[in-house]
C-alpha cells in the first residue's frame, strides 16, 4: 500500500519549472531590467531624487508588509526600525570618514548591511515583549513603543543628534564598483542595487518554511501550535526580519540624504508606511511596491499642485479600505483576470462605467476641495482650472461640484448592478 502511495506522481499538481520561472523569476528580472534601463533615458535631477525615494519606500513598504500582510500583525511603529537602521548607518558613515581601525576599509556602499543588522537588533529587542500577542495588543504595544522611541530620540542627543540630527558625507572610504557616490547618478546605482536586494530577499523569505509558517500563523495561530510550532516564536522571528529590512531601507536613506533626524521615528512616517502598503494591496507581494511608487509620487509631485494633497491622500486611503480592500494590486490583477474571464467584453464595459463614475466623483471632489481651500485661505485666490475661474460665489462652481458627483454616484451604482447581473 505504502509503496504505491509514495510513488504517486505529484508533478502535475505542483508548479513546473517553466511556470516558476514565468511567475516568479521573470517579474524580478523585468524589475531589475527596468532599474538598469532607467538611467539610459537620461533622467533629470528631480527624477533621480524621486526614484531614490521610491526605491527606499519600496523596500520599507515591503518590510512592513512582512508584518501586516504576511503575518497579520498591525504595527503603528514601523518607522522605528527604519530609524535605527538609518541612524546606525549615519554613525558608521562618520566612522568611515574618520577612517580609524576597520572603518578605513569599510565601503559606504555596504552600509545597508549594517542597517539591516541594526534594524534586526531593534526588532529583536522590541519584539521580545511585543510579539507575545497578536491583534489589538500587538498594535497598541507598537504604538506605545513608537511614541516612546520618538520622544526618547530628542533626549539622547549623543546618538540621535538632537533636533538637527546626525549628518555625514558619503564620499569617504573605499569605493566599490568604481562608484564615488558623489553625483546623484552614481547614488542611483547604490539605491537600485539595494532595492533589488531587498525585493529579492523579501520575496525569497516568503518561500521559506518560516515564511509559510508566518502565513499559517496569520490564518490560524491555534492550529500552528498543533502542527508543532510556537506561534509566538514564528511572529518574533518574522518581526526581526521585518525590522532588518526596514533598517536596510533606513541605511539606503542615510546614504541618499546624508542626514537623519529624530523626526524619522515619529508616528507620521509610520502612518505613511502603513498607507503605502495598504493602498498598494497587502494580500499581494507586489502590492506594497505599487503603493510605494504611487504614494511617493503623490508626496513629492502633488504637493507642487495643491495645498490639499494630504486630504486627497486621506480620501484615497479611505476609498481603498472601503471599496478596494485588495488595493491597487487587487485592481490591476482583477482587471487582467476579468479580461481573461468568460465575458471580457461585458467585463470591460462594466469596468469602464465604474472608472467613469470614479472619475466624475473625483472631479466633483477636486472642485469642492480646491474652492474650499482658497476660500479658507482668504487671499482672494480663485481656482481656475483650464482658465475657467470658479469663485465660491459663482453658481457654476457649485454646479461643477454637485453635477459630476451625482452623475458619478449614478454611474457607480449602475456598474454595481452590472456586476451583480454578471455574477
Amino acid at each position: 500500500m505504502s509503496t504505491t502511495q509514495e510513488s504517486f506522481d505529484y508533478s502535475a499538481h505542483i508548479p513546473s519549472n517553466a511556470e516558476k520561472f514565468r511567475q516568479r523569476t521573470l517579474p524580478l528580472l523585468i524589475f531589475a531590467a527596468i532599474l538598469v534601463a532607467i538611467p539610459l533615458t537620461g533622467p533629470s535631477r528631480t527624477v533621480y531624487t524621486l526614484m531614490h525615494q521610491m526605491g527606499i519606500n519600496i523596500v520599507l513598504a515591503l518590510s512592513y508588509n512582512m508584518l501586516l500582510g504576511r503575518a497579520g500583525l498591525l504595527s503603528f511603529g514601523h518607522a522605528v526600525y527604519f530609524g535605527f537602521g538609518g541612524y546606525f548607518a549615519m554613525h558608521a558613515m562618520n566612522w568611515i570618514a574618520d577612517g580609524s581601525g576597520i572603518w578605513a576599509d569599510f565601503p559606504v556602499f555596504l552600509l545597508p548591511v549594517l542597517g539591516f543588522g541594526a534594524g534586526a537588533l531593534a526588532g529583536a529587542v522590541i519584539g521580545w515583549p511585543s510579539c507575545r500577542r497578536a491583534g489589538t495588543t500587538f498594535a497598541m504595544i507598537s504604538l506605545g513603543v513608537a511614541e516612546l522611541i520618538a520622544s526618547g530620540a530628542f533626549m539622547f542627543d549623543s546618538f540621535f543628534g538632537g533636533e538637527q540630527g546626525i549628518s555625514g558625507d558619503r564620499m569617504n572610504g573605499p569605493e566599490l564598483f568604481g562608484l564615488t557616490l558623489g553625483p546623484i547618478s552614481q547614488v542611483y546605482w547604490f539605491i537600485a542595487f539595494w532595492t533589488v536586494v531587498g525585493v529579492v530577499g523579501m520575496y525569497a523569505f516568503t518561500r521559506t518554511p518560516l515564511g509559510k509558517l508566518s502565513e499559517a500563523t496569520r490564518d490560524n495561530p491555534q492550529r500552528v501550535q498543533f502542527i508543532g510550532y510556537n506561534p509566538q516564536r514564528v511572529r518574533y522571528l518574522v518581526f526581526i526580519f521585518s525590522g532588518g529590512f526596514a533598517g536596510l531601507a533606513g541605511a539606503m536613506a542615510a546614504v541618499n540624504y546624508e542626514i537623519f533626524t529624530p523626526d524619522a521615528f515619529s508616528l507620521v512616517p509610520s502612518g505613511f508606511i502603513l498607507i503605502m502598503a495598504y493602498v498598494g494591496g497587502i494580500t499581494y507581494f507586489v502590492g506594497p511596491i505599487f503603493g510605494a511608487i504611487l504614494l511617493t509620487y503623490m508626496q513629492s509631485m502633488m504637493s507642487d499642485f495643491t495645498d490639499a494633497w494630504l486630504l486627497y491622500l486621506g480620501v484615497l486611503f479611505i476609498s481603498i479600505v472601503m471599496f478596494a480592500p485588495r488595493g491597487l494590486a487587487g485592481i490591476v490583477f482583477g482587471f487582467s483576470a476579468g479580461l481573461r474571464g468568460p465575458r471580457p467584453r461585458a467585463f470591460l464595459i462594466t469596468w469602464l462605467t465604474q472608472l467613469a463614475g470614479v472619475a466624475l466623483m473625483l472631479i466633483g471632489l477636486i472642485v469642492l476641495v480646491e474652492i474650499a481651500v482658497r476660500w479658507s485661505n482668504g487671499y482672494g485666490e480663485v481656482f481656475a482650472p483650464f482658465g475657467l475661474p470658479l469663485a465660491q460665489a459663482n453658481p457654476l462652481s457649485w454646479l461643477l461640484v454637485v453635477a459630476p458627483a451625482i452623475a458619478g454616484v449614478a454611474l457607480s451604482r449602475r456598474a454595481a448592478r452590472m456586476r451583480e447581473a454578471q455574477a
Binding site: Q5, I14, K20, P209, D219, Q222, R223, I227, G228, Y229
Partner: protein, 256 residues
C-alpha cells in the same frame, strides 16, 4: 516488561471557577488501540481533549504520553512529542491551498524547524510526503484549491490530513464526522481507519454507527466523570450507560 500505555490519563480534573468540568478522569490507552469517548453534550469531551493536547492546563492530575508527562507543556511541544489532534470546527489555514495546508503540517517532521534559509518549493521530500498524505485522504486532485473554497466534507478530510501530516503516534479526533451526510460519514470512517492504521486513536464522536464501527474500546463520559469503559459489546449491554446516555436511541444493530 510491558511497554507503557500510549496515553495515560491519571486522576485528571479541570475547574473553571467553581465549575468542575472534568472530575477525576483516569484512563489508559494501549499502543495501537482505537478508543472512543462518548457522552451527552456538555459532558466535558472537548475539555478533556483540550487538556490532553495542552490547550488547557489541568487543575489536578496528569497526562502521560508513552510514559512521559505532557500535562503542563505547551501544545507545540506536546505535538512534537508525537500527539496530534483535530478540531470539531474545521481549523485550517484558510488563505492557503489544500497542498500548502498539508505541507505546513509536514514541515516539522522534515526537520525544517523555523528555517529561513531553504526554499520549501524545492524540497522534494516535503512534496512527496505532502502528496502521500493528500493521496491517503483523497485530496490529491484538489491539491491546488484554496482551502476556504473546499466543500464541507473535504474540509473535514483536510482537517484530518493536517492532523496526521506530522506522523504522530497518538491521534485525537474531535467529532470528525460532525455535520456530514450518511455517505460522507461512511467515506470519512474509511478514511479515518486507513489514515490511523497502526496508530493510537482517541476519538470523540456522536454518531454511534461510526463508534461501533471504529472503536476497540469505548469510554462513556458523563458530567466530567467516566461512567464506564469497555468493548462496544460491553457498553451496549451496560444498563447504566443506556440510562445515562443512550436512552431510547436504537442502536444500529447491523453495525455491531
Amino acid at each position: 516488561m510491558t511497554s507503557p500505555p500510549a496515553l495515560s490519563i491519571r486522576d485528571l480534573s479541570k475547574s473553571f471557577g467553581p465549575a468542575r468540568i472534568i472530575n477525576g478522569v483516569s484512563l489508559d490507552i494501549a499502543p495501537g488501540e482505537r478508543h472512543a469517548i462518548i457522552g451527552p453534550n456538555g459532558a466535558g469531551k472537548s475539555t478533556l481533549f483540550n487538556l490532553i493536547s495542552g490547550l488547557y492546563f489541568p487543575t489536578q492530575g496528569s497526562v502521560l504520553l508513552n510514559g512521559q508527562k505532557i500535562s503542563g507543556l505547551p501544545p507545540h511541544q506536546i505535538n512534537r512529542m508525537g500527539l496530534s489532534r483535530s478540531f470539531q470546527v474545521s481549523n485550517i489555514f484558510t488563505n492557503m491551498t489544500v497542498r500548502e495546508n498539508v505541507r505546513c503540517g509536514v514541515l516539522n517532521t522534515m526537520g525544517l524547524g523555523y528555517s529561513f534559509w531553504s526554499n520549501i518549493g524545492a524540497n522534494k521530500a516535503a512534496h512527496a510526503k505532502t502528496f502521500e498524505i493528500l493521496e491517503r485522504c483523497g485530496l490529491s486532485d484538489k491539491a491546488n484549491v484554496p482551502a476556504s473554497l473546499l466543500p464541507y466534507a473535504d474540509q473535514r478530510s483536510l482537517e484530518i490530513a493536517i492532523t496526521i501530516a506530522g506522523n504522530p503516534d497518538v491521534i485525537l479526533l474531535d467529532e470528525p464526522t460532525a455535520g456530514m451526510s450518511q455517505s460522507e460519514t461512511a467515506r470519512a470512517v474509511e478514511l479515518i481507519a486507513k489514515a490511523t492504521e497502526g496508530k493510537t486513536l482517541l476519538i470523540v464522536e456522536h454518531d454511534m454507527g461510526v463508534i461501533f464501527n471504529l472503536a476497540d474500546r469505548i469510554s462513556v463520559l458523563v458530567y466530567g466523570e467516566i461512567l464506564a469503559t469497555g468493548t462496544p459489546q460491553e457498553i451496549r449491554g451496560n444498563a447504566e450507560v443506556r440510562e445515562a446516555y443512550l436512552g431510547d436511541e436504537a442502536l444500529p444493530e447491523e453495525l455491531a
